[in-house]
Amino acid sequence: MADGNHGGAHLRVVSHPQPLLQVDEVSLEYRTPQRVVRATHRVSFDVHAADRFVLLGPSGCGKSTLLKAVAGFVTPAEGQIRLEGQRVDAPGPDRIVVFQEFDQLPPWKTVKQNVMFPLRHARGLSKAEAADVALHFLDKVGLSAFADAYPHTLSGGMKQRVAIARALAMRPKVLLMDEPFAALDALTRRRMQEELLALWEDAAFTLLFVTHSIEEALVVGSRILLLSPHPGRVRAELNSHQYSLASQGSADFQAAAQRIHQMLFEQPADGVLAATETDAAHAPQPTVHAAGQRS
């Protein structure tokens, strides 16, 4: 069974009852010149060591803002975020972010220098030590041959690999990924998911991953937090450690995807009563209807 593959991860979670990262009743707001908009409302979840924790939701559910709050770029309007019990209040190298945008790599540094950059300036390694670590992690993402290339000469997938190598080299307590593969073509995205899982098998880092793709959430994640849109509220927390790229075509996988889809795009639970009265005519095909609207 696929379950058996991830038994190790399971055991690790059990042996660490204290969560690594706690998001506790966090509400996030952003300001426009005219109004204050609530992005998420009292969201709570716990991430344990070696989790591959996915925040999944349609656009407008505040999942990226939530990740930026964990990174320390956004201060919660209420609630708090704790990493190993310590309150998070500023960005720091114990939570490295891999962004979606390719311009996260300073263009004035070669691939190797990019990976060395935080090692030198945040971890204070010497040049030689940083270069060793950088080459080791570039080798892991298969980019040793491009160590001296400048980022503008790389493809999108290679740039994201550099960003992943740079993040892993820092050995952060939790690795934050904000839709890292969303700007890649479908084939490259699939390969990157595969490689990310291989890297995780190798080192079992703790991952907090934001995506709007249900399939990606099921493949990459071991646990999924579903967020409703406008404002983001927790809809469900599901296990997905049993799925991998290999199980993508299986009936099981399809059923899980379908279930999530329904949870995301149906009326929220507290609106069901109202919905049965007004939207009765749409009831037979709620998913198709909603999917057409949101995508």
Binding site: K68, A71, F73, A90, P91, G92, P93, R95, I96, V97, F99, E101, D103, Q104, L105, P106, P107, W108, F117, P118, H121, A122, Y150, P151, H152, T153
Partner: protein
Amino acid sequence: MSTMQAPLRAEYERALEPFTAQPLSQALPWHRRLWELGWLRKGALLIVLALIWEIAARVQDNDLLLPTFMATARAFVDAIVDGELPGKAVVSLSVLLQGYAAGIVLAFVLTTLAVSTRIGRDLLETLTAMFNPLPAIALLPLALLWFGLGSKSLIFVLVHAVLWPLALNTYAGFRGVPETLRMAGRNYGLRGLRYVVLILVPAALPAIVSGLKIGWAFAWRTLIAAELVFGASSGKGGLGWYIFQNRNELYTDRVFAGLATVILIGLAVEGLVFTTLERLTVRRWGVQH
């Protein structure tokens, strides 16, 4: 509705041989390759301009108003050989570099303040709005009053010439740094001066280099103009003084030689210093083409 249908055709498949019909890339013919060299094209233009000058001067036939290109070249070589022009150029350049460096340092301080605090930003915006349109040379009378005759006054107006355009460009460059790159920098805990030096300055380098170029041109102009104004009473003048003096003595060919030196130094700095700087930095990084 539409009943038109595309015809159904048979499928086919081809086994492809390795492509050998013609080489994949071919070298351009030699004259096209020569024409790709920028310095050659610009050199050809300069020769054409010199020819037009020579012809115009011969038609005009008045050495006092417009000496020929050859006469100017001779005066230029003579002045170089007897060491007068190089000496004047060194005097001018040393003052220029002092003013330029001071202007760069001040611009860096001002823009760093501007990206760190809101009041710093207000200060920079107000000061550049006030002083950028003010010609540096207009401050010379005031500078002479404050600092007396000599290089201090010159440096004061030079700083004024360099500071505002450079600060304006640098600040625009800082504001144009992508949000993701800023966040990546802050993610590593970089703050304050380290954040500015390690993230903002290199990311804004295309704008900074263009500010340095504009500042250089402004400073060079201002210096020559300032020397023309008060060179008469300064002990040892620079290039502007050389031009002014020779005009008074009606050595028009030397006036032209002095002007040519001003132009040549400008070209050399543009062609050697700035082009090299751009080649080693922004072009190599692919942020400017």
